[in-house]
């Protein structure tokens, strides 16, 4: 028995010693430099692989950041915390803008006229491709929820009214839905932005045509443009656009808009602020 133990000890000690040395030796000899920063950056990323940064997954972005090819504020899923972390690693400071997606259409089943009875594949893209637009309005929301399908953060849901509803708490502003929407009527807006916004994308310049198609469409009356005391609103491509540098959130445009397609971001859309207490608000 003692012999067995001794032989064992001798043999294993020898073997292990050799292996240990060999390992250490080869580790040195075959060393391939890999920037440790890549791993560091990768660890700091949330790992959702959402592609919101425009790189192939978190690994791709990590490498791009570590090699300085990409800015540190691209990760929208991780938000400010990630950006800060990446900035620390890379020794730069940058603040990611915290954005959310907003749907620029209020054309519910009730309010927007349907073009016909669409019976094809129930996705927005397919519907748009084969019917131009399932709504009489060529710019309106198709209502088949392509945006909902791509959202990785559970921030979008199809409402019964035929429009997707954004859950702004969950929205990370990754922009996947904006990318996916065939009508391009989702847009990213800074979460803390204040001011008015027109929730309509109809570019048809003929007022009669818009009225025919949608009850909440911009009828190009330009009342908003004329009534804005700050001259912050201009017509661009047939829809009014607010210049947020000038907008004071006075709410006149919202009040004036005859079809109610002008809304206040902070109160009506994002709900970041309570409405001006004109009336008692729950």
């Amino acid at each position: 028995m003692v012999t067995t133990i001794l032989v064992t000890i001798g043999f294993s000690a020898l073997l292990a010693f050799v292996i240990g040395i060999a390992l250490a030796f080869f580790r040195e000899k075959f060393k391939v430099e890999r920037d440790p920063k890549i791993d560091e950056v990768r660890d700091a990323l949330p790992g959702a692989n959402c592609g919101g940064c425009g790189f192939p997954g978190c690994d791709g972005y990590a490498e791009a950041v570590a090699t300085g090819r990409a800015p540190v504020n691209k990760c929208t899923a991780g938000g400010a915390a990630t950006t800060e972390a990446l900035g620390k690693i890379m020794g730069v400071s940058a603040v990611a803008e915290d954005k959310v997606a907003v749907l620029l259409c209020q054309g519910t089943h009730e309010k927007a006229v349907a073009k016909g009875e669409y019976v094809g594949i129930p996705t927005c893209r397919a519907a748009k491709l084969s019917t131009g637009s399932v709504k009489a309005c060529a710019w309106g929301c198709q209502g088949y929820g392509d945006c909902v399908a791509v959202c990785k953060f559970d921030a979008l849901a199809m409402g019964d009214d035929g429009l997707p509803h954004v859950n702004y708490d969950n929205c990370t502003g990754c922009g996947m839905c904006v990318e996916e929407c065939p009508q391009k009527i989702l847009t990213l807006v800074p979460r803390d932005r204040v001011g008015s916004i027109v929730l309509c994308s109809n570019r048809n310049t003929v007022k009669a045509n818009v009225i025919k198609t949608c009850k909440v469409g911009c009828i190009k009356c330009e009342l908003c443009v004329r009534s804005c005391p700050e001259k912050a609103i201009t017509m661009v491509n047939g829809v009014p656009v607010t210049d947020y540098a000038k907008c004071t959130s006075c709410g006149i445009c919202v009040e004036k808009c005859p079809t109610k397609c002008y809304k206040m971001l902070e109160t009506d859309v994002l709900g970041t602020k309570k409405k001006v207490p004109v009336m008692a608000e729950a």
Binding site: I121, A126, L129, N204
Partner: protein
Amino acid sequence: MSIKTFKGGAHPPERKERSEEKSIERVTSVSQVVIPVNQHFGAPIQPLVKVGEYVKAGQKIADAEGRMTVPVHASVAGIVKKIEPRLQSNNTEGLCIIIEPKEPEEGESSTDFMPPLDPFTCSKEEALARIRAAGIVGMGGAGFPAHVKLAPSKPISVVIANAAECEPYLTIDARTLVEMPEKVVEGVAMVMKIVNAPEGVIAIEENKKFAIPHVEKALEAFSKARPGINIRIQELKTKYPQGGEKMLITAITGREVPSGGLPMDVGCVVQNVGTLCAIVDAFKEGKPLIERGFTVTGAACKTPKNLVAPIGTLVSDLVKAGILEIDEENLARVVFGGPMMGVAVPGYEIPVQKNTSGVLLMSRDEAQYYTEETCIRCGRCMRACACRLSPALLAVAVEAGDYREAEKIGLLDCIECGTCSFVCPAHRQLVQKFRVGKQILRALKQKESQNAR
């Protein structure tokens, strides 16, 4: 004469008998025309006229520089009422010029045609310039500019007049062959001259045999007038999509247009008979493409007809004028074009365009639609596919979002003929999937090439 065909395809119900016997009727007076500015496959063009301006029939009203552009002409003499976006037959809104017909003032001609030109004597450049000036595009469906097609960069051996008319319902090409065979023959001869081709073939499907004697007679007369031009008739098996450019070339010459290539790569030029007639008119009368023949049919159409009407005529105006009668109760679907490749539109208040070969007014019974069921992998689509693709597998790749794989197995080779969707026992919306897939794939590729730059 052997009857030729290609591999694959299907036999949808023909339903041509409704209008097959009806001779072509000419529509002369309309209450207004709505002429879309962009009716061709290529770069967009701009209107040249202003609201309130008086235009003559045949006057150029829109044009732009560029190889892939084709001008648009006023189809009637009258006043430009509006220039605004209207719904076109491809279901999108586009800029349209609306003209209200008005008799010209005394002594003025109502038309503004070009002088005649003899294509057999003039130079190739002149001939091509004339074809462009006449605003001629492929009238079979796609609207490809004819002057581009007729200026191939490779030698051409065969000119094919496409009278296969494989789409069910449509009969306008057959009627053209019966009523104006000499125009078709002359058109083939002109195109042969322009592209310098030794052979011309008029391809006719078996189910239009009745037109063959007419064409033969015209051929005979033509060869007497201009000996030495080699044009023959080729009978083809009745099968969809026999009239597809690629299938036609394969059936007649046995050659296959390479993937991503054009008919000229295998020495062929294919022109629809309607286009050929328009070319003849452009040379002989100097008349631009301002009117076209089309079939109005379908079970909800009480008066199936073959019509020739000014471009821009609204189908609803034809109904108002009493030229057409529609069973409005029964009408369930309106299709511009044939039932296999045409576009379902939301109504018939839509103008006839340069590429409108027919207007289908389908009744409730005809207008079938199904919800998609799961693919049972029967393989019918694969056997039917004229391009020998695997629609079932392609659909899986597209559904899975694997566009690279889809491209590898031929997504971009699909000609969207609709045969696979027709034969699918599970009523899968295959073609629609491929259209969506192609759109996304192209966008992806564009993005990639931008990134690469």
